[in-house]
Structure formats: C-alpha cells, structure tokens
Symmetry: C2
Subunit: 337 residues, 2 copies
Amino acid sequence: MSLAADVLQGNRRALARLLTAVENHSPDAVEALTKLYPHTGQAHLVGVTGSPGTGKSSLVSQITLALRKSGKTVGIVAVDPTSPFSGGAILGDRIRMRDLSGDPGIFIRSMATRGSLGGLARATANVIRVLDAAGFDIILIETVGAGQSEVDIAGHAHTVLVVEAPGMGDDIQAIKAGILEIADVLVVNKSDDQRAQNTIRALRAMIELSSSRQEQTWINHHGQLTAVLASPDAPSEHNGTHWEVPIQATNSLSGEGIAELIEILDRHRAYMQDNGGLAHRRHMQVVAEVDALLSETLLAHLLDRVDRSRLATLIERAVARELVPQAIVELLIGDFL
Amino acid sequence: MSLAADVLQGNRRALARLLTAVENHSPDAVEALTKLYPHTGQAHLVGVTGSPGTGKSSLVSQITLALRKSGKTVGIVAVDPTSPFSGGAILGDRIRMRDLSGDPGIFIRSMATRGSLGGLARATANVIRVLDAAGFDIILIETVGAGQSEVDIAGHAHTVLVVEAPGMGDDIQAIKAGILEIADVLVVNKSDDQRAQNTIRALRAMIELSSSRQEQTWINHHGQLTAVLASPDAPSEHNGTHWEVPIQATNSLSGEGIAELIEILDRHRAYMQDNGGLAHRRHMQVVAEVDALLSETLLAHLLDRVDRSRLATLIERAVARELVPQAIVELLIGDFL
C-alpha cells in the first residue's frame, strides 16, 4: 500500500514518515502529496503567532486540551523561522507539550528553517496539507516573531490568532502594527497580570485606528503572478458583512477565557465560509505558491544546464565590477532560452 | 549629458532623479547603473539596525554630524521593510533629520516596500551603489525590526551595527539572538539609563555564548546558486585574526560615546580590508543578487509568453483541488522550455 493510502487510513507512523519526506522535499513526497491533495480542505487552519514570552505555546496546549474534550482532533505545526540564527527557541517550548503527546487525537510537528525561508514556507504548506488529508479537525500553526515569514505562514490559515502579553511598551507596539493587520482574533494572555486591561485598551485603540483592510495586505505580497492574473476582489469589498477583530483575555495557566476563545474560532470559520473569505484566501495562497514554485523550478532548470566555469567567471567579473549583476543574468538567460 | 555622468559630477538633482528611477526599476536606471558600476566600491557601507525605540534614528543623526565635522560626506538610506503593513514608522523618524538636510555633504533617502521584499532588497542594493558612485565617503543603511529583511539588507554592509536600548526583558532578547549574530558592533544607546550596565553585561554574555560564526549565517541564505558555485571560505576560517564584537555605550542626546563609536567603525573597516572580509562579503552579495535576479527574470519571461486564460484555468483547477500546484508548474514550464 502507498504512503498516501496509509496516511488516509490514519496510520501515525506513515504520517510521521511522510512529513519527514515532505520536509526533505523528496520525490516520494511529491507523489504522496498529489494523491492526498483531493482529500484536503476539511480542516480548520488556525495560525497562532506572537512574540516569545507571550505564553503562546502554553496557550496552544490549552486550546488543544479544550478541543480534545469536545471530541475534536488537533494537528499542531510549530514553525520557527528564526532558528537558523537562534537555534530554535520554539522547539524548547515543545517540551511543555509532552503531556499532550500520548493522545492519538493529537499530532505535533516542529519545523525549523533549513536553507531558505521560501523553502520553509513551502514545506509548511505541504505539512499542513498532509495533516489536513489525514483528517485532523483543527490544525494549529504556531509561529514565532514578527516579520515577512509570519505573514507568509499566516497566509495558509483560515483564522489568524495574534497573542500579546500585558505590559509591553509602546516601542514594541510599533513593530507589532504589522502583525495586528493580519490578526482575525487578538488574545491578551496572562490575564491575571494587572496590566492586562491597559493592554486590551491599547490594542482596541490600535485596531480602531488601523483603516487598511487586511485582505489588501495579502495581495501586495504575491509577486509577479498576481499582476498577470485578474485578482478576485477581497470579500469585504463586495459584501456588507464585516468582521470586528475580537480581543479575548486568556490565562493559559488557569484556563480562563479558553472556552470563549474556541467559540470565537468557530464563529470566525463560519464567517469566512459564509462571506467567501475562505475561497478568497485559498485562491491567493495557490497563486503565491505557484509563483514561488515557478521561479524556483525555472532557476533549477537553468542551473542544471549552466556551464559552471562560465558562471564562476561571470560572478568573478561582477565582483571585480567589470559587469553588473543584471548583465550576468541576461547572458545566462540568453544561453538558456 | 547622461544621468550617470551628472551624478558622477555631484549633481544632487540628478542623484535624486536617478534614485527615483532605481526605485521604480525603470529602464533609464539600468543604463545608468551599468555606467556607474565601475565607480562603486569606495564608500564604507555601514548597516544600522535595531528595534523601534532604541533611538536608532537619533544615533544615525549623531554619527552623521560627527562624521561631517571630520570632513567626511555621508549618504543615509533608511529602509522600512514593515511599511506595507504599518505605514512606515521609520519615515516619521526622518523628521528629526531635517536639521541635517541643508548640508550638501549629506544625502538622505527613505525607502519603503512597494510590492515584494525581494524588490526592496534589490532596490536598496542599487540605491547604495548610486550613492557609492556619487562619492559619499560613508553610507549608513538604517533598517528597522528583526527578520530576514534585516539579514538581507545587512548583507550589503561592510560593518553591521546593532543598536539596543537598556532594560529589554529576556523575552525580547530571545528574538534578538538572530540579530546579534549579524552584528559587527553592538551599541547600547541611552547610556544614561540606569539599566544600561545590566544590558551591556547581558549582551556580553550572549556574545560569548554564541559560538556560531556570523559568516556562516550569510552563506545559509544565498539560495540555489550557492550550491552550484564553489563558495570561498569565510575569511575567519583561513586567517588567524579574529574580530571581537565590541559593545559601545552611547547617548544620542548628549553625544557621549559617538567619537568612540566612529573609531570602532574605522577599525572594523580596516580589519575587514586586511583579512579579506570585504572581498568575501562582496562575493556572497553578488551571488545572492544574481540568484534573486535570475529567478525573477526567468519568471518574467515565462509570464510574458504564457497563455493567460490557460494560466487562470490551471489556477482555478488547483483551487478546486483537482491539480496540485507542483503539477501546474510542470505544465507551464513544459510549455515554456
């Protein structure tokens, strides 16, 4: 039986094996992904992002336990785009999850960057697909930090949950502005902290100030392919309904606010389904993925055929300032096409 | 006379006009860049990065004023990779620089993301080249935040200066670990803050702990082309000398520590020149740029020839889960090659 068939039957060892193949971009993975693709699209994909120290990982554990109590199965993908530098802080957090891992209704996968960020984003997309096809009801995609990688990874989710902790200064808030714009739901964790109410007030003010629509933000980041294709309108544009970003206080130690948060997640999923938001995000994500895969594969074809000593000579001439990089590109593409 | 010739003669209006052309990727810019390229390589390129609230922009102003006093000319490129989201916090900071802008020995350019981050990184590289060819002695490249874009932009600099402020919690330090590894010089600004000494101690401990060499970090991020080319060794590998990352306390209000910081910058430039570090960074940067330009240009060629209605149909089939994105890519490349 094929790896894909084993995964569809709920075989956990096959699942783990396929995920490793996917992370290594092995040919087996391509075949299995093709078979699994029609089985995807059932899971609710929830992105969870926020700075280290917000208690994000404990929150993910609490959400998971609560979902399990209501009979739902949960896949967790923990992505650390900073790990080539810092050595993977998020992986350490996973230790806390050990008590979850005996439950067959939960599957946890940690991912770190190997090589390029683009490679990580694509591997993450495929890992999510495999878990989706494997039948998990909800997939939590946990990322750390603030930056383009968050936005890319959030692009895979139906619902993006941004976690904040009380008492962060205004300086930090400034850098967070970008992350707020991708949030469907805001969580202020550590609600027992006396500064929690202040943070909630500050976040509410920031949300009200932010006039730009988040769907627009996604579109700006989809590269050349978007310009060629007629983009579908963001659903908020041709539809009267509007999603007010809720701010939920939680305490991942006492469990306070977790039940309310899960209700909000359900409500957001229903909203996205009703107003066409799911279909829109899905379309944008496919376009972005094809764009990235196309340029990467084209380059691989060119490099496959390139004369390496000629390439090395051209690079050296650019280093010596005899040739601009653009000129090298034209020469190489001229040879290739 | 051509735009390039005017820029070489020190015409400021031509310079501003060319920079706009460069940012818009206009054909004029390509021609001028080709002419200017042999005139580049004289300036000392200094990256300045750090979170909002560290007083980074005031520090850049102070460094600039001090450099001007010693007769050096200064170009400032302020890059805000977060601005498609947050609306460009760094641009606001520029207002403080108004008092610098009457001096013809200073040229300030603010850049924000239009479209992709890759596009911003490339435009930044070209803006730096133009200022370099225009004869500025030192070019300060100021970026905000923490993420891949910092690393990319830092890749253009000979000397990377990371600015910290006193009193940042351990949580924040964790995310900063990545940024520390790209630092050639650390600055603890706001040295009058009573917590400054603690921050200096914490940073020193982090530097001593970090065993990985920064040159290695660059190499990991240079994409497919690096794998094809034989990479030159990082200079630290075949050379006995070693750069101890200095930590300099500064106060951008009183000017304390600025003279010492400028001495450190000079010392680092001399070190990089002596041990081959400059040549190595330059090589890696050319490779990264050719890699990015190649994939982008190849994709542009393909999209130029693609049947748009066929492309749209394929995308819709992927959205409907009938076709994996990888299959679309193979079909399109099959048509193209």
